[in-house]
């Protein structure tokens, strides 16, 4: 049995199993640390840095840092909030995100974080990158303008032989998400839906079913992003 350890997040006493990633253990303790690239039980990428926290005075990514006994984690401080807000702003200016007509609006993690951090006008200039759309798959519409390079799809959407449907192409500012046209031509409905669901933005769209969820019933229409985790403690009587 794994060793139980105790630690604090913003002064709150937490406990968990030694060696597990901080972001997951924090969630189990009812503390929300924002994520974009992380997905529970998938090998972390640590690429987006939105989960940046301070442990014993040092900046680390909570999704790649195993929790240690007795550590003191800073999470919800003005300094960290501003860093996270800056990351969200950077992601917005690096792509072409038009929430008003995006079918992921209301279900989008990036938009949810924009609201959480009360993003108004980004502090960075817009890049206005021109990225082509890939509509060649019969099931998936790949909107490259919205990709934030979280790599969730590359890591998680694979065929039965373990081959990824998605990959990165190019380097630096020319980096873009791409889809293997050969295998994507035969992707199942279920996998196409999963690809759309795990995408934290509206880059991967399952064709022909847009806007099916009414406004008011979308993920973040009534509660801010992270509320499910923060409410966890209340539903468990404060004992998780």
């Amino acid at each position: 049995m794994s060793e139980k350890i105790k630690f604090t997040i913003d002064g709150k006493q937490c406990e968990g199993e030694k060696g597990r990633y901080l972001v997951d253990v924090a969630a189990e303790n009812g503390v929300y640390i924002p994520v974009l690239c992380h997905w529970k039980d998938v090998i972390p990428a640590g690429s987006c840095r939105i989960c940046t926290v301070k442990i014993n005075g040092r900046f680390v990514a909570a999704c790649t840092t195993p929790v240690e006994d007795g550590c003191n984690v800073e999470n919800n401080t003005p300094e960290l909030q501003d860093i996270r807000k800056a990351i969200v702003e950077m992601l917005f200016v690096e792509g072409n995100h038009f929430c008003p007509s995006c079918e992921k609006s209301g279900d989008c993690d990036l938009q949810g974080l924009g609201y959480l951090y009360q993003m108004m006008v980004p502090r960075f200039p817009y890049a206005f990158e021109r990225r082509e759309l890939d509509a060649s798959s019969p099931k998936i519409f790949l909107e490259k303008n919205r990709c934030i390079f979280c790599k969730r799809c590359v890591r998680m959407i694979k065929d039965e032989k373990g081959k990824s449907y998605f990959a990165f192409k190019g380097r630096g500012k020319d980096l873009e998400i791409s889809m293997d046209k050969t295998i994507a031509a035969n992707i199942s409905d279920e996998l196409a839906q999963k690809a759309m669901d795990i995408c934290p933005v509206g880059a991967i769209l399952k064709k022909e079913v847009g806007f099916a969820t009414p406004i008011g019933q979308r993920k973040y229409d009534n509660v801010p992003i992270g509320a499910d985790i923060e409410n966890l403690q209340k539903t468990n009587g404060g004992k998780k």
Partner: protein
């Protein structure tokens, strides 16, 4: 000395336009033009987008009647996804869309009459512009102003409960709708606390109509002589000739009431209607192809609709329709300012339809979407508050939009608006070399009768002040007014 007068920008209309009036050497009006001076390009940037995004994307053309664009696009996409035109949807799908549309018609007509036009009626066309606005109405006629505001609010609530939010919702999707109306939502709209319930809206709509009729009785000579000219009239009508704002066949009548377009399926509108481009305006000039440019232009909107329809399928509005028709002995009504009269009859009709729909239990059913065999092209028409709205899309095999053509209500009214401005200018400008306040007002009143959505007609950004330019025979600017 010859002069050219420009009115720019034009106020209390939606969008940005300017008017130029060219005078000859004897100070007679030689030519007038309503220029639409902005360009938006929705038809271009929708290309490449997934087709199911169109109803949500294209509705951003307008903040007052986005529902029209939302539904016209959805109707075009119904054809593309094989759900048929108009009546191919489930009962819940069609009726939810109808409720959304009549809610929009109600709020938009209330906005247009009470917020934009009533200052002219209540405070006088020649009143100081400082008070001749919605604030002046609120200060001097608080009860009527409150009713106008609350009627608009009610319409917006209808939209909210059908499209998910008051402006730019997502309710209509290709082949149907994404929600039904819960009994709680129905009860809020049907029997909400006073005044926000269906019965009060009908009562107030009748009151608004009575207000206009009283005004008309006292000012008949002015109203009837203002920008009167004969024209063709075009709109959708239900298959049995009834007024139908959501779906129907295309009908056009000439100034005497003879059908010049006889209840045709709108899928082939491009064979019937041509759009002329003129180099001084971003807004095109549509006309009925078989009648040609000179004789084929037509009016759309409330006046045109009551001229093409045989009857109104709700009782109180039908009674008012009969009185309206009797005024011109059953012939088409070509009086520009009677557009307000027609608009208020439609306001009343919309309130009646909303109540009828709210009492229909189909709205609580769960069968929301239908699909069929996909095609690569679809046309969707709807009667928007200001008139017939055309949406036409083609898609490729990858589900991307390759072509979009939008003919919005105000584009359809381009020629009549120009003629109305010309009429007013000839009456008020002849013999004058300067821009006068009554002349400015009259030009705006003429344009406002159509309530043109100039912004969406050019697919326009920015505010909409009034700009008048007076230009001499040699092209020199002699006077310029800008509010």
């Amino acid at each position: 000395m010859a002069q050219k007068i420009t009115i720019e920008p034009v106020t209390r209309v939606e969008g940005h336009g300017k008017v130029t009036i060219q005078l000859d050497d004897n100070l007679n009006v030689a030519q007038t033009r309503l220029h639409i001076v902005e360009f938006r390009g929705f038809e271009r940037f929708v290309q490449g987008r997934p087709y199911w995004e169109a109803p949500v994307l294209v509705q951003r053309l307008c903040g007052i009647c986005p529902v029209s664009h939302h539904l016209a696009a959805a109707k075009a996409l119904d054809v593309i996804v094989g759900a048929g035109t108009g009546h191919g949807l489930t009962a819940t799908g069609e009726k939810m869309r109808r409720l959304m549309h009549y809610g929009q018609m109600f709020q938009s007509h209330a906005l247009h009459f009470f917020h934009l036009s009533s200052p002219d009626f209540l405070l006088g066309y020649d009143a100081d512009p400082e008070i001749r606005n919605v604030v002046g109405v609120a200060l001097n006629f608080p009860e009527l102003a409150t009713q106008g505001v609350m009627m608009r609010k009610y319409g917006q609530e209808v939209i909210h409960h059908t499209a998910g939010k008051k402006i730019h919702g997502t309710g209509a999707i290709p082949g149907g709708i994404n929600k039904n109306l819960t009994t709680e939502e129905r009860d809020i709209l049907l029997k909400g606390d006073d005044p926000l319930n269906a019965d009060k809206m009908i009562e107030w709509a009748e009151g608004g109509l009575q207000f206009f009729k009283d005004f008309y009785l006292k000012n008949q000579e002015f109203v009837d002589s203002f920008a009167y000219f004969p024209s063709n009239h075009l709109s959708l009508v239900r298959e049995d000739g009834a007024l139908d704002l959501y779906h129907g066949v295309l009908r056009a009548v000439d100034a005497d009431g003879k059908k010049v377009l006889d209840d045709v399926d709108y899928q082939e509108y491009h064979k019937l209607i041509e759009e002329e481009v003129r180099n001084w305006s971003y807004m095109k000039f549509p006309y009925l192809k078989h009648l040609g440019k000179d004789d084929g232009w037509y009016r759309v909107g409330p006046l045109a609709r009551l001229n093409t329809a045989d009857f109104i399928p709700t009782p109180i509005a039908q009674r008012e329709f009969e009185a309206f028709k009797a005024h011109t002995n059953g012939k088409p009504n070509n009086y520009c300012l009677h557009t307000h009269w027609a608009r208020l009859i439609e306001l009343l009709h919309s309130a009646e339809v909303i109540k009828e729909l709210l009492l229909d239990t189909d709205l609580q059913k769960d069968d929301l979407v239908v699909t069929g065999n996909k095609t690569n092209e679809g046309v969707g028409l709807i009667e928007a508050p200001r008139g017939t709205l055309f949406h036409h899309y083609q898609i490729n095999e990858d589900d991307q939009i390759t072509m979009a053509n939008l003919i919005v209500s105000t584009t359809n009214n381009n020629e009549p608006m120009n003629r109305s401005v010309n009429f007013v200018a000839k009456n008020m400008m002849t013999g004058q070399a300067t821009i006068t306040e009554p002349m400015k007002n009259a030009v705006e009143v003429a344009i406002r009768a159509y309530d043109p959505c100039l912004s969406c007609a050019t697919h326009a950004l920015g505010k909409m002040p009034l700009d008048i330019r007076l230009i001499g025979a040699n092209g020199e600017e002699l006077d310029h007014y800008r509010s």
